[in-house]
Symmetry: C2
Subunit: 344 residues, 2 copies
């Protein structure tokens, strides 16, 4: 295809994806076009139930939004199996998004829908980038420095080989370099200690592969190094990454629970809590996932961005913006150049 | 040995173990004997550099403490290799503690020292309980309910088999039943989703073994279920458990960092933070590891309790109390009865 800077870019948005669809999706799209910096050559393709999309549009001022609607009868829910879109719901917005992407009718697909279904459908319809053994999904974690840390894999691959982990590192490296403007992303291998001899044989093998690569491999890192800003990319198997991600999400659930318990313990605590609001809000803001703009499915032939089911309009806005950026930066081309030239 | 309720119990305390040794250790021992409920048949054996122990004792009112001192010239530091006590430092307090325990000269050994060295030395000097393939170390996590969740393994075993995970469940089950008075501890297998078919072949095998056991196996659980009170025992490999534990510890480091950053951003934030102290303290108290009383090394022939390097006197106090309780409840006998009668 032509240089993405010069032609019209079409970003498909799953209007039925998130828990608050289609309203949050439509409001997110409106926010995108409210931004005067947003490139003029970009259009949004809203995929979903046409009447619901139109009704959501009617509630907002959308005259700046450059959009078209692609009707899709069905919806993939959070309870659907990962293979549901391929096996049963080919009229779903999720399937249609990847179908359009695979036919180059759109340049990217963004959804706050079912992550497992996104991954399966992306892998089947888009196929893998040459040189990639397994597509992966990472997740961003806040850190003590401004830039977040990406951990991958967080659930796409529970069974891994050293080669897969190496590829996750390569993809994370290119992604953080291109999309977060980090010159030499620091790559860490999640392990139980620093020494190269730590961990399973698989981890030791991966350590060697990473140490021999051109990447800025800083060695083995531990669970604490995800949040402390020690590295930009943390590589691990999807079982462990998923456990950490789900654990991390639950930390705030527990904190909120404890605060509620405290609040209900009396009038004085209620007052204390009220006057503590600014501090607590600042604290929580530091862990706000919205600004990360979703997570990319890396390793498939196409730009696919997955968002949290609870994505707010702001989160949707950032997801669309990140999708545009990922197309413009030609991240997938760079992944292919790196991995397809590799010996194995 | 005789019934532990009737004879004198000797709890060995590594006076040189933690980062603030021997002061916190000695102060912890004093606190134990300040408690009028503490059983009269218990004595403390303080192991370490005699002059340092005596000097620490001189600074506190220790007239209620029933103690003896066993001199040990060397100290295992946090930087020492796990095998250091066995290979090089046989005059260390850590080695001497396990040596006394293996000879039944003491009933339990408590240390806030090097966890890896504790585990290796315990395994070599005490040996495994009959029927146990691999000793394990778990860790307690706070939860929405009063009782904490134990996750095991958290680093002792990075390479596991289904049988090991099954045994971790059995040991966690007995421990939580005896030591936390939970009638039918809910056992969860950490996985990437609920269905029995989720995860690696190893996890699927483990699922089957647990499902066929007499335990209260609630099925696969996810990372979020550690904190939300969904289960009492979470079983996983030591690589994943270690990553979650280290990650969890770092959450509060990050929160403290963000609060400091906020405080330094101006006078108003400083004031806000000051008036928020009661709320923040209540919040942090909910995650206080001190009251858990350390973590047991499970599966070895002897009661061995490991504490955090930063253990406060209060944490040491609880560790000693938990050691006494674990001896009295004869937890190891129950583990042996359960696992040695098993078919394989």
């Amino acid at each position: 295809m032509e240089n993405p800077q010069n032609r019209t870019l079409r970003i498909a948005l799953d209007a039925m994806g998130g828990d608050f669809a289609p309203n949050n999706e439509i409001q997110g799209a409106v926010k995108v076009f409210d931004d005067p910096q947003f490139p003029e050559n970009v259009e949004i393709v809203l995929i979903g139930k046409e009447n619901e999309i139109k009704s959501a549009l009617a509630h907002v001022d959308h005259k700046k939004v450059r959009y078209s609607i692609v009707h899709a009868d069905e919806v993939i829910t959070m309870d659907d199996e990962p293979t549901a879109a391929i096996k049963k719901k080919r009229n779903s917005s999720l399937y249609k998004g990847f179908d359009l992407l695979s036919k180059n009718e759109v340049d990217a697909f963004v959804s706050a829908g079912n992550t497992g279904a996104m991954l399966s459908t992306a892998t089947v319809l888009l196929g893998r980038i040459k040189g990639v053994s397994r597509p992966t999904i990472g997740s961003f974690f806040p850190s003590q420095v401004d830039s977040p840390t990406i951990v991958l894999d967080v659930g796409a691959n529970v069974d891994v080989k050293a080669r897969y982990l190496y590829e996750f590192a390569v993809m994370g490296n290119i992604y953080m370099n291109q999309m977060r403007a980090i010159e030499n992303p620091r790559i860490g291998l999640l392990n139980v200690g620093e020494e190269p001899s730590k961990g399973t044989e698989l981890l030791q093998q991966t350590y060697q592969m990473l140490a021999e690569s051109k990447m800025n491999f800083i060695g083995n890192v531990e669970g604490k190094d995800i949040l402390n800003g020690a590295c930009d990319v943390v590589v691990c198997d999807g079982y462990t990454g998923n456990a950490i991600l789900k654990f991390a999400e639950s930390v705030f659930t527990l904190i909120k629970f404890k605060l509620k318990e405290y609040m209900n313990s009396g009038l004085l605590p209620k007052i204390f809590l009220m006057i503590s609001k600014p501090v607590l809000n600042t604290l929580f803001k530091g862990f706000d996932y919205q600004k990360y703009g979703g997570v990319p499915i890396l390793g498939v032939n196409g730009v696919a961005i997955v968002g949290h089911g609870k994505s707010s309009p702001l989160a949707i806005q950032y997801m669309i913006m990140k999708a545009v950026e990922q197309v413009q930066k030609e991240v997938n081309k760079k992944i292919e150049a790196e991995l397809s030239s590799n010996d194995n």
